[in-house]
């Protein structure tokens, strides 16, 4: 079978399971508190892990340099995000900052 099709079907399956299982089997029941505490931190941990590598790693090396534009653009993006707490505005700020920085350089 085609590689992308296989990937898409498997992604759909593993994404649908966590969405559907609670709807089917957990009406009103409670999770063990340790498991629910762990699951609650998963989004923060996953997103921070991705963001860390996106901002600080380039081609397998630590990228701490003035030419790391992703890192520069992160400052206004974080500032607007903390200030406005609005996802759409944060995304537009990030994209706009990077475009602006690239045009200025």
């Amino acid at each position: 079978m085609d590689r992308i099709l296989t990937l898409t079907l498997l992604m759909a399956l593993v994404t649908a399971l966590p969405r559907l299982l609670p709807m089917w089997f957990l009406p009103g029941r409670r999770l063990p508190s340790a498991l629910s505490a762990w699951l609650r931190f998963i989004p923060v941990a996953v997103i921070a892990a991705i963001l860390g590598t996106q901002l600080f790693v380039k081609e397998g090396d630590l990228f701490l340099s003035r030419s790391n534009l992703y890192l520069w653009a992160a400052f206004p993006t974080f500032a607007v995000g903390v200030w406005k707490r609005n996802l759409a505005l944060t995304v537009v700020t990030g994209i706009g900052s990077l475009a602006l920085i690239r045009h200025l350089i």
Partner: protein, 245 residues
């Protein structure tokens, strides 16, 4: 995430949980999806997906960040199994969202519950959980929110794909930064206390360390699982009571 959501007193849901109120409440989410789904469509074409594959992924996976993540991993030449495992871990959060919506709808039929669960996403979850907390859950309202955001996501994915032919250099538009910026925005919304901040810093540093150590394929999952474990441990040690998400 939007003005309607932040200020309950001006919330149109308060008056009526009709289908049109649901579609209206979803508009800010649709606007937020635009750059995001658009970037997905553009990246999908760059990575070498066809239009059909791009649309199909948006229609049946419907989980934005993990779709873009998958493209990035495909581009980096990672194995299908790694991408699927990353997708699973990344989307495990839907389990909690779905589990917190489920108690509101004990009287809904199996198929309605299935439909409600099948489209749980960060933004629509936030909107629906606040609506369900205030009013008796109405299926037509919930499915209007879903229908609007679902169609927008798929439509914008296709538009992004088609536009990438006319936007030869995405980098000049800064659109390659959509994903990092989405993650910055989501991270800020998700960090609710000091423990959350510690978890984020730990996970980010651990991910960079694992990545530099040559374990690119596990640089997401292992640090994230350890980071979440750290958070859960800190929470039980300090005895802080988390607000239910």
């Amino acid at each position: 995430m939007d003005a309607t959501h932040r200020d309950p007193s001006r919330n149109p849901l308060r008056a009526r949980m009709s289908a049109s109120a649901g579609a209206l409440a979803a508009v800010p989410i649709v606007l937020g999806y635009f750059p995001y789904a658009f970037a997905f469509g553009i990246l999908a074409r760059q990575v070498g997906l066809t239009l059909e594959q791009t649309l199909f992924m948006s229609l049946i996976v419907y989980a934005g960040s993990s779709q873009i993540l998958a493209l990035g991993m495909l581009q980096a030449g990672q194995a299908i199994a790694s991408i699927v495992a990353a997708t699973f871990l990344f989307n495990l959060r839907f389990f909690l969202m779905s589990a917190s919506l489920a108690p509101h709808i004990p009287e809904w039929s199996f198929w309605k519950r299935t439909l409600l669960g099948s489209q749980v996403a960060d933004e629509s979850f936030a909107l629906l959980s606040s609506a369900f907390a205030r009013e008796k859950p109405m299926a037509r309202y919930a499915f209007a929110v879903y229908g609007t955001t679902y169609l927008a996501w798929s439509l914008f994915s296709v538009l992004g794909f088609l536009a990438s032919g006319f936007v030869p250099d995405v980098r000049a538009w800064g659109l390659d930064y959509a994903l990092p910026a989405v993650f910055v925005g989501l991270l800020i919304c998700l960090i609710q206390d000091r423990i959350g901040m510690v978890v984020a810093l730990f996970s980010a540093v651990a991910a960079v360390a694992v990545h530099l150590g040559g374990f690119q394929q596990s640089s997401l999952m292992v640090p994230a699982m350890l980071g979440a474990l750290l958070g859960a441990s800190l929470e039980s040690w300090t005895g802080s009571s988390p607000s239910p998400s």
